[in-house]
Symmetry: C2
Subunit: 329 residues, 2 copies
């Protein structure tokens, strides 16, 4: 009997058929007993003799892959691969799939929601009001906000389209390479990152986490940003340096930030002391539809794997190449 460890939580909630798919396929499974993102040491203890992992964003390190002698397949619920030691997986003939498309609509909408909160200071007003303090904040409308979008993949492209449909006129974009994307090319200006820092009232991050994006927005980059400018990170923790962000918010140079992703999750850090920092708990993909789609796609992939069928979500080779030097995680 095939055994699957489901590390991602929540799993199978609110009418999602992911669990019944496993049951109907006769697959034995265990759901993360700790109920939150596992530490590397916790997963190391748990890994045992599972044949496959339905994985979240937790770290699946070389020593975990080496310890799990029976592991043959990792099916990521979601898209980021910064947690998985891909080269170790490759060496040990562990295949890795992900659900690259499914999270995008939900992450893009969360980013836009965070943007709306920041530009009108909804989050700050809410904190004040819950302290019975009445302070009227003046904000900006979307039309008058200069946006910077770094990372124009599945999610960044959606964010650009939504902002544009909401009336945004100045959208500066940047990615590791300039690509031609006909659907948005007339909506944006491709510029160097320094131009983004200089011109943007709000910067939204949509890159993967890898060796070139780790600490991409640190103190010196934040200092280059306009007084009162804002940052949204729904991509991965570590891209925006948390300590530096806390410092610059404390100094008052930036007007606010919205951070959904953290270097270590669950997050308990200094940013939680800042009224100007909107914090959410890695909820980018947490819309009912997208979350369930991700779970179902990752589960179906596991079933295909055990049945010897061809896989639909295998991680493409360039993801392995891009990450060859990235040993931070």
């Amino acid at each position: 009997l095939s055994k699957v460890l489901i590390t991602t939580v929540p799993f199978g909630s609110e009418g999602c058929q992911s669990i019944s798919l496993l049951q109907n396929a006769g697959i034995d499974f265990v759901i993360n007993p700790i109920g939150r993102k596992l530490l590397e040491s916790e997963l190391f203890e748990l890994i045992g003799d599972y044949d496959a992992i339905i994985a979240g964003t937790e770290q699946i390190s070389a020593r975990i892959i080496e310890k799990s002698k029976k592991l043959k397949f990792i099916s990521r619920v979601g898209v980021g691969l910064d947690g998985v030691d891909l080269s170790s997986a490759h060496r040990h003939n562990v295949l890795v799939s992900y659900t690259a498309e499914a999270p995008a609509p939900a992450v893009a909408e969360l980013a836009v929601g965070l943007i709306f909160s920041l530009v009108r200071k909804i989050n700050q007003s809410n904190i004040y009001m819950h302290r019975n303090e009445w302070k009227r904040f003046t904000g900006k409308r979307i039309e008058h906000t200069n946006f910077g979008v770094i990372g124009i993949g599945r999610i960044g492209e959606r964010v650009v389209k939504i902002l544009s449909s909401l009336g945004a006129k100045n959208i500066f974009v940047n990615d590791s390479e300039r690509r031609i994307i006909p659907e948005i090319d007339n909506l944006v200006r491709w510029v160097e990152k320094d131009e983004i820092f200089k011109h943007s009232d709000l910067i939204s991050i949509h890159t993967p986490l890898n060796e070139t994006t780790y600490n991409m927005i640190s103190y010196s980059e934040m200092k280059k940003m306009k007084e009162g400018a804002m940052i949204v990170n729904t991509a991965r923790g570590g891209i925006v340096n948390e300590i530096d962000l806390h410092r610059i918010l404390l100094e008052g140079h930036l007007g606010g930030a919205a951070i959904d992703v953290f270097e270590r999750e669950p997050y308990q850090g200094l940013l939680s002391k800042m009224d100007t920092c909107l914090l959410t708990s890695h909820m980018g993909s947490m819309s009912l539809d997208c979350r369930c789609k991700m779970e179902v796609e990752a589960t179906e992939e596991v079933i295909r794997f055990f049945n010897g069928k061809s896989l639909k979500g295998l991680v493409p080779e360039y993801e392995y190449l891009q990450r060859s030097d990235f040993s931070k995680y």
Copy 2:
């Protein structure tokens, strides 16, 4: 020399030319010395011998109009007239103007921002994170949310258009009368209020406050709403009953609410104890552009009045008729 009392605050902030317009016109003015929305009793004390008021949302009652012997003109910064005793103004030959169009874009965007927060529970997650509690909330995407919009005037119409451009498919609308609005008629379904309560995941209010809308959403209406449904009020306090909202949120029948406007402002009430209630401090029109536009339009109207020029923003007669029975304020 003409003397103007400016009751609305803030006024003339962040590069807005409203104050210099008054100075250049040689008009003597005093800005609200209390720095927040005045109580009726405070304005009664302050009113003195001013020729005109550049007014906010505070109550300008019959006894204030009667006491202010020299008052000839009220120029409202904004659009709602629930604060002004129009029939008393009419009897005492006090003209009233407002800036009916200027706030709409900013209010509509705040409403959409609050909607994004509620459907993804951004506000709740932020409160938890600031307490160092990590809890992942599952939300809905715009496309899968049934919306109810009550009040299809300048603002409601904009909200409908924005929601539709964001992918909303089910938008139920209602107003005091069914009107033909070609631009949105193919985007919405006009229904009775009870249908809105029954079908909506989220209801956004955009009516004026008058005798028919006061307490329009009270306990019995909230009970008709779906389990977990949400309410946004950026219109006026008193339309959604605050005590009833607190009760129903406490009971857990509704999933959340976002309230920007209150019966008494500054608000200090029970809703501030509810994590599920997003509260903002009457910031609907508080975008830099709209706020300044409102101030400038109201100021230019005062200058026109003193110069005997024809007025552009005089309150139309139907506003006087609609409100003839409304003596709550």
